[in-house]
Every structure is written in C-alpha cells, then in structure tokens.
Symmetry: C2
Subunit: 325 residues, 2 copies
C-alpha cells in the first residue's frame, strides 16, 4: 500500500518508522504546511507543500493525517477525504460524533473510506472496552492511564510564570488497580485513580513555592489530584525526561451465572516506551485495513469498531487461521 | 435474536445463563442426543430430540453447537450449517484449517453463516494475538494459561488405576511472566512456562507412591512439567475443587523506531471463575454478530478474525461511538 503522511511532527515520525517496519507499506510523500525545504524527514522521504497534496490523489492509497484534534483534524480530515482514503487519530472523545458526521459526509460523497480516532485511546483501548462489554454485559469498566507523559498537562505547567520547562507523568494508583483486579468493584474518585508527578525546570530566582502552589491548585488539570512537584535542572530534564512513554490498563470486571455467582476479570494493558511510535504503528495497521476495505468498495467514515481484525493484518486469511487462531 | 443450543453439557449451561443476561437474546430450544425427557435445563427451556432440530430451521436465527472437538464438531457443524446459521467452539488448533474448509462448503451451499472456534482460546486470545501482531510486526508472542482446571489433564489422571477422582490445575510460572513483561524476550522451555498441580482422591489401599510416579512421568501430559501431586479426600475434592476456573495471559513484546530503540508490551489477560460460563458468554456475543452479518447477506465460514467488533455489541453504532470509543 502506498501511504502519504500529512503534517510532520512526533506522531508522523512514529508513522514513518512504522512504515519502515512493514514490508507491504511504502511512504510516497510527506506533506507539510511549513516551507517544505525546512522539513527534514528521518527516512529521507520527500516533503511537499500541503497545497500540492491533491496532485497525489492517484498515487496514494491512504493518507495518514497527523494533526491536533482541537483545530487541525476537524478541518483537515473532511477536506482530505474528498481526494484520499484517510486515517486520523482524533482524540477529543466528546466531539467524536460530530467529527464522524462531518467526515462521513465528505468520504461518502467522494467514494473514499475514512477511519477516524485511530491510536490507542481512542483505538486499542476502545477495542478492549467494546469486546469486554459484549462478553460481560453485567459488569463495570475501569480505565487507568500511565505511567506516562501527558503533553497537555506538561504544556499547562510550562505556561506558568517562572517555568522554563516541565514534564508531567500520570501515574495509576496501585491500590486502586489491586482493588479492581480483585473484583471488589470499587467506586473510585479521580484522586483515588491517578496521581500526577511534575518535573519542573524553573528560571533563576523564580519563586519555587509559588510555582508549586500554582501547579497543585490549577483547575481541571491538577486540583482534583495528589500532585508531587520536583524541581530539576535543564540537564536532568534532558537526561531523564526526554522520552514520551505512556500506557495504561482497561479492565472490565463482571459476573455470569443465573445468580451472578461467578466473577471474571478481563484486562488489557499497554506499556509503551514511545507513545508516538506506538500510535504510528496502530495508524499504519489501520491504513492497511482501510486500503483493503476500500478495494472491496466500502466507503464512508469508519472507526476501529467497524474493522474486522483480519483486515489489519498483512497475513492471508489462511495464514491467520493456521497460526494466530 | 432467537437462539438454539445443540448439545447440553457444561458449555451449554454457560450459554444458557449468558442468554439470560442479554436482553436481545431468546433461547428457543435445546436439542439433545440423549432422551429429551432425561435432560432438565436450568432455565426451564424446552428440550427436543436432536433429530427434531431441522423442524426449527425457520424459528432459530443462530444455533450454538456445544460438543467435543475430537469427534462431535467435525461432523455436527457442517451438518447443522445446512439448516442453520451456526456457532461452535472448535478448539483443536491443528485441525482448524480442515474444519474451516468443511464448514465453509456446507454453509456457502445453504446460504448460512458459520462461525467456528469461538470462546477464549481460540477466540479472545486469538484476537489479542492478531491485533498485537498487526501493530508490532517486530516482536515476540507469549501465551500463558491458568491458574485453571484442565479437563483433559484431569481426565488423564482419572484413568490411572487406583484413582477415584482428580483435578489438574495449570499454573503459569511467575518468574517467566515477570521476565516477559520486563521485555527480556526470554526463550522459555515448556517446564519454565507452566507448572501442574494435581489433586487426587485415591481408592482405599491404593499405592500412592505408584500413582504419583505414574502421573509425573505420563508422556505428553506431565513428563515435561514440574508437577506436584496432593492426595485429598472425596469431601475435600467436593468442597475445594468443584469449580472450573481458568484464564491466562497473551503478551506480545516488540520494538519500534528506526533503530528498534523503543520497547512495548501489549498484554491481554483473563481471570475466570467459570471457564464454561465465560465461554458461553463469548459464544452468545458471536451469535449476535452472526445474526447481524447474515442479515446483510454474508454467508460461509468465518472466525472471530472476520467479525467487526461493532457486530458483537447490542449497542447501535451511534451509541458505540459516543460511549465506547
């Protein structure tokens, strides 16, 4: 399959390295809204101006759109679905129905397929939820994130006066995980599920106590959590916190039997050294499925819920049944 | 959806209780090859002679076939696929391609859909394998089973002279699990992955040392494992070992990045108080998917790999996108 990448940032580089790992995938072109001559790809793939993308409509099977969910993807995905089969990782859960509807109209109109909200949450975690709910209708869902870097929370801390750099880790609370896995069916507050660890490089002479206070009381981001703030040097930040690990746990506990007498725990977990590279790897598998589905005449907006697992794999149905079932 | 159950044993009772938990499922009839008047269902569902099944072809959307993989299902599933959409839990991994081909011919010929090898392994564990392999092409797969009762191993011990009853638990080795999760990519022997715990009720005056020796050296079943044998009374067997728990872990570890510099661990695990009830719950969800797919004109033999997750759920696509994605 011939792939394009639209936008070039962390996730795009994750897609780029995933393409290199998949023998059936070829990166045709990268498109950037910046000056193409200023963008250097890791693989050496050629970079074109975003405005040139439509010229490639016959050369690209699937365009993987890498952009922000706040303002980029709501515009880009419907627009590009007019010329391409597209994939995005739209992750604003509350706005998915609206995004779906806009993308569906564009993709149906042009006979393309568009898969939105790929990645791991939404994405692989969503799959864990749908399967476990279908199997155990009588039960409870729990999602824990981390230990991993939250870019949004890191950015929020960076906006505080006197903060030069910051990295925020979301950390699931061990006791909460233990209780859920034991089938105790706990009702957990926000504070009981996750803690937040913040590492801050402060400007010389900054009021550290004030920075710490501002972080810990920040509405929506930190005020409902137990947060620890650690001040470190710029060198320590670079040495110890330059990676973007993440992960988490999706657990459903439920009971079966005529008297609900038997308990079950279904758990799906991810431990990721690189959030963008794992996300990119999911997107490439989804692109494969989109390409296969489009070749069968399927069009319109889809999500991972609509993709038969076999379509994500490079193996033939015969190979899959013989070796994976 | 109107469901039938063909055969009435442990798994069938699991299906029966799962149907009771799903508002969109109705149990129309149970079919037995025994004298129907001798079979009492837990739910009170009516039992018919197996030979009467074809009369119900217009009243049952999906027939869930519960039988053994060695001799029952290879005959029953193709036969019943002539009159019904069918589901089975065929679990002889090595013979899946042959079974698929026989069932496919029968189901295609009659315009029905047949989903084989439902359950949790094959089934949910197969899904864990296909997804994680599609995402991380560069990696290693590990499957651990237990702690849980293996019926085959329990039966094998029961055939030893002087053994009145036996229960065998398969237990994953903690150190092996730890090493896999740590991304150490270990090469594990059979002995390093699982241990076996056997509980035996011996006949009065039986030679216990000889029984223990016969168990531990039994080819294929025990000789490659570290096995512990514990002799207990019939009362202890009934009090402590009358349930059928099971479960396990499917783990894929792999790396991404242009230099494979980032490691990832994907883990799917099940902890089941009742193996047959969980299996039954999976089969009912698959029956829902089969019913939906058949109503769209899809026929032939399928596996969980061919089922889009949305088809397993009773929720509408809109509900799924709004609440599960």
């Amino acid at each position: 399959m011939k792939l394009g990448i639209y936008g070039y940032g962390n996730i795009s580089r994750g897609v780029e390295s995933a393409i290199a790992q998949n023998a059936d995938a070829e990166l045709v072109a990268v498109f950037s809204r910046r000056d193409p001559s200023s963008v250097k790809t890791v693989s050496g793939a050629k970079v074109y101006a975003a405005s040139e993308a439509p010229k490639f409509k016959d050369d690209i099977d699937v365009m993987i759109i890498c952009g922000g969910s706040a303002t980029d993807l709501p515009v880009l995905t419907p627009e590009l679905a007019k010329d391409f089969n597209v994939i995005d990782s739209f992750d604003t859960h509350a706005r998915i129905p609206e995004h779906f509807s806009n993308v569906d109209a564009a993709a149906c109109g042009s006979g393309h397929i568009a898969v939105i909200s790929g990645g791991w949450d939404p994405g692989m975690f969503s799959l864990a939820r749908i399967y476990s709910n279908a199997i155990l209708p009588n039960g409870s869902d729990y999602t824990f994130w981390g230990r991993g870097v939250s870019q949004g929370h890191s950015d929020a801390v960076r906006r505080i006066e006197g903060v030069l750099d910051a990295r925020q880790y979301t950390v699931p609370v061990e006791e909460a995980l233990r209780s859920v896995r034991a089938g105790e069916n706990p009702v957990l507050t926000t504070r009981q599920k996750h803690t937040r660890e913040v590492y801050v490089v402060a400007a010389e002479g900054a009021d550290l106590a004030k920075i710490e206070e501002q972080i810990k009381t920040m509405p929506n981001y930190f005020d409902e959590y137990d947060t620890t703030v650690t001040f470190i040097t710029a060198e320590e930040m670079k040495a110890d916190h330059s990676e973007l690990p993440h992960g988490g746990f999706v657990i459903r506990t439920g009971s079966t039997g005529f008297n609900n007498e038997h308990k079950h725990v279904i758990e799906y977990s991810l431990q990721l050294d690189s959030n963008p590279e794992f996300t990119g790897s999911v997107l490439v598998a989804i692109a494969r499925a989109a390409s296969k589905m489009h070749s069968r005449g399927i069009c319109g907006c889809k999500t991972v819920f609509d993709i038969a697992p076999a379509d994500l794999s490079p193996l033939t149905p015969e190979e899959l049944r013989a070796h994976m079932l």
